[in-house]
């Protein structure tokens, strides 16, 4: 039973892949429409150099975007939590940033920015920053009233209340935001790459997908897609691990696990 959470999805995965391979083989589907999993694996091995290089490019943009989202998002959340006036005046613009599709403004940013990589990082950051801002702000405000009374009773300074009460209270909210932002940073990076369509040595996975599609090299397209998905899962696992390490001693969301 202990391995059920791992074994059950693995079994399903194997079954699906087997059925997929079987269908493709039996119906003789041409690989430029749907390649079988075996062919995708083969392509992955063949084009490993090209694809891994592109993966690194995309991951670098994603990591930078996530980093800037966290730093700027947390700073903005602190500002919002300090004063209702600041929040009321600026929050609508944060929403504006969130609801504007990145594909729509990416061309502008690419025009304005000399370096394409920088433009991509800016786009991905714009996509990823909102959950950090809104969750962290909510967390900094969500404090047990009794604890706030306690800090008042002992005449805690604003700074002490922030560091010893608001920041720890906000951590679970921040990590929930981080998990969402991690995925969004990757999506933002891929979408921005599509728009930019950069080739050459600086090309990411989205460019490989774009080119594979044009050349009807569908097996490679699948391989690139698979890498993006795996990268997304890895980012989610990593952010979840961070959350678990930080909260496992005390927060309900983590201490039930294992």
């Amino acid at each position: 039973m202990k391995y059920l959470p791992y074994a059950a999805p693995a079994v399903i995965g194997v079954i699906v892949l087997a059925l997929w391979q079987l269908t493709v083989t039996l119906l003789d589907v041409p690989p430029y429409l749907v390649p079988g999993p075996l062919l995708v694996a083969q392509t992955m091995a063949q084009d490993a150099d090209l694809l891994l290089h592109s993966l690194l490019v995309t991951l670098r943009i994603t990591a930078l975007a996530l980093f800037f989202s966290v730093v700027m998002g947390v700073v903005i959340a602190f500002l919002f939590a300090q004063s209702r006036i600041i929040e009321a005046s600026l929050f609508p613009y944060a929403v504006l940033l969130q609801v504007t599709p990145v594909v729509a403004i990416a061309p502008l940013i690419i025009i304005w920015t000399r370096d394409v990589q920088t433009a991509l990082v800016i786009c991905a950051t714009m996509v990823a920053i909102f959950p950090i801002i809104s969750n962290t702000t909510l967390g900094l405000r969500s404090i047990e009233p009794g604890l706030l009374d306690l800090f008042r009773l002992y005449r805690a300074s604003r700074w002490q209340t922030l560091l010893r009460l608001r920041v720890p209270s906000a951590l679970p909210y921040f990590f929930a935001g981080l998990r969402v932002s991690g995925g969004l940073a990757l999506i933002g990076a891929v979408v921005a790459e599509f728009v930019a369509g950069t080739g050459g040595s600086g090309s990411g996975l989205a460019y490989q997908i774009l080119m594979s599609g044009l050349q009807l090299n569908v097996p490679r397209l699948f391989a690139a897609l698979l890498l993006i998905t795996l990268a997304g899962v890895a980012i989610f696992a990593l952010t979840s691990l961070l959350s678990q390490l930080a909260l496992r001693h005390w927060h309900e969301s983590e201490f039930g696990q294992r």
């Binding site: 009374d149 306690l150 800090f151 009773l153 002992y154 005449r155 720890p168 005390w250």
Partner: protein
């Protein structure tokens, strides 16, 4: 020489900004070494009175004067819920008053040890609040209130949410702690039995706006101080004091009915 330090409440009143009067003008003296229970129905302003004493609310009228040992001293406060920081272990929670203090106390560690020992949680110092039962969490909360060795301990229905057996144990332990530490205590409760068991004196309040209806002295002058144990709960003295307190409590309620204000 007996300690004559006193906290004097004079004409103390409180109204919320929306005009709702929570506390009618109240006069009360709290003398050093007393265990005073404030007994009253729900919403009678007894918690308000306690929060005024703790400085969490500013009086709308009247004054609170502390002299002698009480002047300028820290106050310990125990809330209705344990209000522990879930991310900090027991020791760090108890250390909080020291951590927030403007001046460093070189004896802080010894005082924290002592406070944990007093509530019997020394072996649990590294546990997290979620690992403790409700009663144990309340003990941590009490240890935290004691960590700065306050002269005055304020408690706001601290055991109301606990089961009866746990409550009886904590009542007994609290009374022993009070006797050992000579710690002036003001204890808010709506339980007649708890008030009689714990206190040296009970102040009975009427429903809103709260006024003092009367008071009951448990160990009266000339009587030997009765030890508070399970025997006491079935003694004739206990029953008599409970009857007195209940009568006053009813008086406070009935007056309201005459005025047509009862809920």
């Amino acid at each position: 020489m007996p300690d004559t330090s006193t906290i004097r409440l004079r004409n103390l009143s409180f109204a919320y900004p929306n005009g709702l009067r929570a506390l009618a003008p109240v006069d009360l003296d709290i003398r050093a070494g007393e265990f005073v229970s404030i007994l009253g129905p729900s919403g009678c302003g007894k918690s308000t009175l306690l929060r005024l004493l703790g400085g969490l609310l500013t009086p709308s009228g009247g004054s609170i004067e502390a002299d002698g040992d009480f002047a300028g001293q820290t106050t310990g406060f125990v809330f209705q819920s344990p209000t522990l920081m879930p991310w900090a272990n027991v020791e760090a929670n108890v250390r909080l008053p020291h951590a927030l203090a403007a001046t460093r106390d070189s004896d802080a560690s010894a005082r924290i040890d002592h406070a944990l020992q007093m509530v019997g949680l020394h072996d649990f110092r590294h546990a997290y609040p979620r690992e403790l039962s409700g009663g144990m969490q309340m003990r941590v909360s009490i240890a935290r209130a004691l960590a700065k060795q306050p002269r005055l301990l304020l408690m706001d229905e601290p055991f109301a949410a606990l089961d009866e057996i746990t409550r009886h144990r904590l009542d007994r332990d609290l009374r022993e702690l009070w006797a050992a530490e000579k710690l002036t205590t003001v204890f808010v409760t709506h339980s007649v039995f708890e008030a009689v068991f714990l206190s040296t004196r009970i102040i009975v309040m009427s429903s809103r706006p709260g006024r003092i209806v009367g008071e009951v002295t448990i160990d009266q002058a000339g009587e030997a101080v009765t030890p508070r144990n399970d025997e006491f709960r079935i003694s004739e003295q206990f029953a008599r004091r409970c009857a007195e307190a209940s009568r006053l409590l009813n008086l406070g309620m009935n007056e309201d009915e005459f005025r047509g204000q009862a809920a």
